[in-house]
Symmetry: C2
Subunit: 409 residues, 2 copies
């Protein structure tokens, strides 16, 4: 029997307890040992549960209990999660977490501490909820060099954009609906401003390319500026708008990493990822594109990923899994303006000269849609370094730039 502790009894934490208790037989068969929840840390009272006797409000009960070999951190946030996780690892306990903020900001340091103390630090649930992504990348694709990783990493914004695209709802109305359904927080900033997707692309880039990428190094743009006009133009051009997290190896030693709303062509699999679903595409040099798709959040999907990590830790009490990256450095992430990309541009107050200006500046093969009724022109460029594109956009005369978005192939 292996004793574990669960820190946090919110949505995910209660799911972890639920799954461990309801699937006890099949889980102990897979772990080859019985798993016993010895402590659950939460400041609130939880009376009347079958496991109410396990609760404690005192972290020391877990930290100082040498019988606890694995700890699941599902509190969220940096404080006190960071201090707690660090102390557990230093005391030789393996730790699993669903906390993307913690991994995105402290991952390299905590992985190093885990390595030095010969324990595991696993966090499959931090990206894609219940969708297997990090372990398949680290293990199944171990014979690959990753070149690019991108996808739809946030279910809340994907739900809002799906409602805008399919039901023509405004951003505000769709957000309200997401809040009513419990998909969005009352303060939705972390989702709609792209911060949540940013943390996830940091984790994916760190694992995929082997060096920590910090959220402050990644330019993240959310979906608050997306209008139904742009949704409609995108549709006419054969695209749907999605919030994309993207990272790639560049020809230099640097990488690109950013989060932005982008036009996705309808024949790209990502265009069919709707509602609260997430999808991550990983390009390996041997496998080419591999995509992982499923519900990226929710109590049981996320909890099941945490429990799978617990099982893995219990099976590897003596050995370490390969999941590691080095610390990052200041100039590792290239400024977004120096990265090749495609842009979608909407112009108003146009005159007849604008179409020929666009062709002259961006080439004949540029997709152009001329709305003479609304006196607007939209176009999608070929791939070029972003700052070269924005320089060209500034040269356009007799028009006003209303919107600039990214586009992917």
């Amino acid at each position: 029997m292996v004793n574990i502790a669960v820190m946090g009894h919110g949505v995910v934490g209660s799911g972890v307890a639920e799954i461990l208790l309801s699937h006890a037989d099949s889980i102990s068969k897979k772990a080859k040992k019985q798993i016993n929840i010895k402590h659950i840390l939460d400041l609130r009272d939880f009376d009347g549960l079958s496991y109410s006797d396990k609760f404690t409000k005192d972290f020391r009960k877990i930290a100082d209990d040498d019988e606890v070999l694995v700890v699941a951190e599902v509190m969220g946030g940096i404080n006190p999660a960071y201090d707690y996780v660090k102390e557990c690892l230093l005391k030789g306990k393996s730790v699993v977490t669903s906390n993307k903020e913690l991994v995105a900001t402290k991952g390299a340091e905590l992985l190093k501490i885990a390595q030095d103390n010969n324990v595991n630090f696993l966090f499959e649930a931090s990206v894609g909820g219940g969708i297997p992504v990090l372990r398949p990348m680290a293990q199944c694709m171990a014979a690959n060099e990753m070149t690019e990783i991108f996808g739809i990493l946030n279910g809340t914004t994907n739900f809002i954009l799906t409602k805008m695209v399919k039901e023509n709802l405004s951003f505000e109305t769709a957000l309200k609906m997401a809040q009513d359904l419990g998909y969005a927080e009352r303060n939705p900033d972390a989702d709609v401003l792209g911060h949540d997707a940013c943390r996830k692309i940091c984790i994916l880039a760190s694992l995929g390319f082997g060096k920590h990428v910090y959220p402050e190094q990644v330019k993240a743009t959310g979906i608050t500026e997306i209008t139904l006009e742009d949704v409609d133009y995108a549709d006419k051009l054969g695209y749907v708008i999605k919030l994309i997290g993207h990272c790639a190896k560049l020809s230099s030693d640097k990488i690109a990493a950013s989060v932005y709303p982008a036009l996705v062509p309808r024949d790209n699999m990502l265009s069919g990822v709707n509602d609260v679903y997430n999808a991550v595409v990983v390009k390996g040099d041997a496998t080419d594109d591999v995509m992982f798709y499923g519900k990226g959040a929710g109590k049981l999907p996320t909890a099941s990923a945490v429990v799978a990590d617990i099982i893995d830790c219990v099976k590897h009490l003596q050995t370490r899994k390969y999941l590691f990256w080095e610390d990052g450095c200041k100039d590792y992430v290239e400024a977004q303006e120096n990265v090749p990309t495609r842009l979608y541009v909407r112009l108003s107050k146009t005159d007849n000269s604008v179409v020929s200006q666009i062709k002259a500046l961006f080439g004949d093969e540029t997709a152009i849609l001329n709305n003479t009724v609304a006196n607007e022109i939209v176009f999608i460029t070929a791939k070029q370094v972003e700052k070269e594109l924005t320089n060209k956009i500034q040269k356009l005369q007799n028009c006003k730039v209303e919107a600039i978005l990214h586009a992917i192939d």
Copy 2:
């Protein structure tokens, strides 16, 4: 350093050697040991390679070499692969294979031998080529009970169907194109008759539900009878035709398992899986639908999955991975006629009474398309036990049944 042997130097085998040599540094970092190919078994001569000195025509050189701890079997077929793999496992060597026929027919026995000898028998490459599927199912989804697994498991038939759907090519023309491009064998039976997909659904069902399913227990229908007429009717009804491998837990202790061409609605993610791509959907009770997508075959994708298994074996020389199922039994797979399904039916020589007959027998909500020009009627039923549906179809009068296909939601 760990010595390994590779049995077979065909498409996949040469890819395995290539990746192990070209990615030696990153692989030894991940395996935490250097991996050395000591022997390559092949009856042919391979002169002029940088590793020509490693070839042998004698299996005993591998079997009797106690220094060889891991063996990759990439010969294909049952004989002599089965005898060789068995002897290697009995001698305490871990074995990895890409051989779906071997795993689908001998998996339970070989897993048991591996367990008894405390070594690993891994076969990620046998389903989905380079797409991570089996390990994510066994590990990341370990806290789930699987309820249903289905998908597009054969790239050759998916290429042919894509050409039929998108370019209106006949089956024969599309097959010829697949052969010219090297996607289909000169004798394409294993692909187009559904045998390859059948082996893969056997492996997925065995792993997902814990008991071996043998190919002879699974009804497999190929794509040779698919006509452009049905492709066109499907399109008009909002569906595309795909070859689907499907298995599910039934309410009894039995499971359903079969391979058939099916109409897939356009809003189902599988409908967008085109060309040689594969996709596997796994339903877990906690995660709900998870999908794995990518190229299901090809030299480097498949070889990279074999190499990932080799790395895993090298890292687990003392411990066993959890990948196991029991042997199956005679009545474990329910006869297809007793399984609930939806059917698509095409009728010719119809008269005006047929539409009302269909409504009376199958209910008002049945999707019906009445082609009065060609004097044909097609319809798609709701879900019901297959034999009840076929009984009803036999009751239809003043018409002739031209085609029956499955349909999924």
